[in-house]
């Protein structure tokens, strides 16, 4: 078991990424907090040698633990076992590692996202603000924007596709994807 100060340092360094990661995998906010806690408790109790290694290796190990915790959480929520999810999570990890982190900490990706958001036309930004800043549901957005719910779903997906393409162009990911 690792010491308290070491655990605090570990948590402070990695908790934001792990929280972001489990939210990306699909956990809601409350579950994400629990999953982050469980991830670090596993790290604390098992205290593997990887915790002494460089930051990227530590982060990768913590993400693997978080993925397993997420899988357990998914299975506890449903009635039967699910064997397909592990493969889905592996794919998710590849996208996270290869496109978001890119041997860094995701800083460049977040920067690219901020820059691409600024380039969006006004109506697209407005739709994103309704959804992600104000937390409007698709139904509420449909009422406000005088569209159908399916139309809202398509609109948001289209905007995210535009953002995704913009980000990949900025990061030079087109050739590798």
């Amino acid at each position: 078991m690792i010491g308290r100060a070491e655990l605090e340092t570990l948590v402070r360094t990695h908790q934001a990424e792990i929280y972001r990661y489990v939210r990306y995998l699909g956990a809601d906010q409350d579950a994400a907090e629990d999953l982050v806690q469980e991830t670090f408790l596993v790290a604390c109790r098992t205290a593997p040698a990887v915790l002494q290694s460089a930051l990227p290796e530590r982060a990768a190990w913590l993400r693997a633990v978080a993925r397993n915790q997420f899988l357990y959480w998914c299975r506890r929520r449903r009635r039967g076992p699910f064997t397909a999810e592990a493969a889905v999570l592996e794919r998710a990890e590849r996208v996270w590692n290869d496109e978001f982190l890119r041997q860094g900490d995701g800083f460049d990706y977040v920067e690219a996202l901020r820059a691409c958001l600024k380039q969006l036309p006004e109506h697209s930004r407005g739709a994103l603000e309704l959804r992600y800043a104000q937390g409007k549901s698709r139904g509420e957005m449909a009422g406000l924007l005088k569209m159908s719910e399916d139309g809202i779903k398509t609109l948001l997906r289209r905007i995210r596709t535009v953002l995704g393409d913009c980000i990949r162009r900025r990061l030079g990911l087109e050739r590798t994807s």
């Binding site: 655990l7 948590v11 402070r12 990306y24 408790l41 794919r91 996208v95 996270w96 800043a133 995704g164």
Partner: protein, 433 residues
């Protein structure tokens, strides 16, 4: 787009729009970690109690002349082992068993060099290589330096401070052991016990540098010439580059002013700040500044307060000295160097534009000159005005101006007053040095 990429963007958009900042779970996790581990592990529970008792015994024996109290029941009466040693000092913990603690000197590991030579120390500058480095301050500040970062170590015991000159750092600070601050050329980030990143982003020139702060956990206080603000976990902030300069106005348009900067002799174009939200909500360029620009003659010596926010912005403009022979700025003047607007009913009709610029002659012909105005991307061709009516009635190009054209050479620096009348026309020319 794949589902995973879409999900990634969903998650990041929630955070980018402020609804899902990663929370600080440090205390909760630590409480759970040590509470669970002790109460669920009898061996550890016993060890913890024995350790606590031994520590109490040691402290009491140091502070009182009376003998220390007997150990707890959990220790076997026949156990003659000495009391368990206290845990090794943790970073920042300087209270070992009774001996005065030595405050650790700055130290670093990884790929770096000390610019001044020698070991890392207060006053020294560290420059990291491709591998990055770690800087350890006071035993309670861990600073990870990204590759190609430049950091100077300042501060003193319990008030550690570094100056980030270039690059990016990530900091972890144990709040209970002291204070920590990061200075950059654009402001100071004070720590209240947290984990955060600071980056000094450098554009192509000094005027495009900015300071970017992202808080990973806890809070930081950002102080700059623009005031103070607190950032919480998950929040980020970009502090734009800003400053004050003096120079001479070389050109202006309805929305911008170009200034030759005294210090660098470069010409930079500034636009006013954007005030308010979207145009449909009444947002737009700062009207007060637009008016000030209109009232400032080309050729004036000015003091400009600026900031870098996507473009160079003028946030303060003061005329120090008006140009010689300054004409009253009674009417709005423009200088775009663009293609002329279509004439609408005569030389004084609505749609005509005029202005004054300073620039160099880049070409000339019999009846034209080409001038590259300062701050303009490409040169513009100017002809004299047409004076009089039809040629059969004696009308023709302004002969006086044609004479001036003939006296100019390529490379001459001139102040040109122009007007758009079907095409850009030279109205007055003053040869500068």
């Amino acid at each position: 787009m794949s589902d995973e990429r879409d999900q990634l963007l969903e998650a990041l958009l929630c955070e980018a729009f402020g609804r899902d900042a990663p929370p600080d779970l440090t205390e909760r996790i630590c409480r759970r970690a040590y509470a669970v581990s002790v109460w669920h592990n009898p061996w550890l529970l016993g060890t913890a109690l024995v350790t606590a008792a031994a520590l109490i015994a040691v402290v009491v024996s140091l502070s009182l002349p009376a003998p220390a109290p007997a150990p707890q029941q959990l220790v076997q009466p026949s156990d003659t082992r000495p009391p368990q040693q206290p845990a090794p000092p943790t970073p920042g913990d300087h209270s070992t068993s009774g001996e005065p603690a030595v405050y650790p000197a700055p130290s670093a590991t990884g790929d770096f060099q000390v610019v001044e030579g020698g070991a890392p120390r207060r006053g020294a500058t560290l420059l990291t290589g491709l591998g990055g480095a770690q800087l350890h301050l006071g035993g309670y500040c861990q600073v990870r330096l990204s590759p190609h970062s430049r950091v100077r170590i300042h501060g003193q015991e319990r008030e550690e401070e570094i100056q980030l000159q270039e690059g990016q750092i990530e900091c972890d600070v144990a709040r209970e052991h002291g204070r920590f601050a990061v200075r950059t050329p654009l402001g100071k980030v004070s720590v209240t016990g947290t984990s955060f990143q600071v980056q000094v982003r450098k554009g192509g020139e000094d005027m495009t540098r900015s300071m970017y702060i992202k808080v990973l956990a806890g809070t930081v206080l950002v102080a700059s010439a623009w005031g103070e603000m607190a950032l919480a976990a998950g929040q980020e902030h970009e502090q734009p580059a800003q400053g004050t300069l003096t120079g001479v106005v070389t050109a202006k348009t309805e929305r911008s002013i170009s200034v030759r900067i005294d210090e660098s002799n470069e010409v930079k174009q500034f636009i006013p700040n954007w005030i308010g939200g979207l145009p449909k909500d009444g947002g737009g360029l700062d009207k007060q500044m637009l008016h000030t620009i209109r009232e400032t003659p080309v050729g004036s010596r000015v003091r400009v307060q600026w900031m870098m926010l996507e473009h160079l912005r003028v946030v303060g403009l003061e005329v120090l000295e008006r140009p010689r022979g300054d004409r009253p700025e009674g009417e709005h003047r423009e200088n775009t160097g663009n293609e002329p607007e279509k004439k609408d009913g005569g030389p004084h009709a609505v749609g005509h534009r005029e202005g004054v610029l300073v620039g160099n002659v880049t070409g000339k012909g019999e009846a034209w000159i080409e001038v590259q105005g300062e701050g303009q991307e490409k040169p513009t061709r100017y002809t004299p005005r047409w004076i009089g009516g039809m040629p059969k009635d004696g009308g023709g190009l302004d002969k006086h101006m044609l004479e001036i054209f003939r006296g100019l050479n390529v490379g001459n620096r001139i102040r040109l007053t122009w007007v758009v009348d079907e095409r850009p026309r030279a109205v007055a020319i003053e040869k500068l040095h």
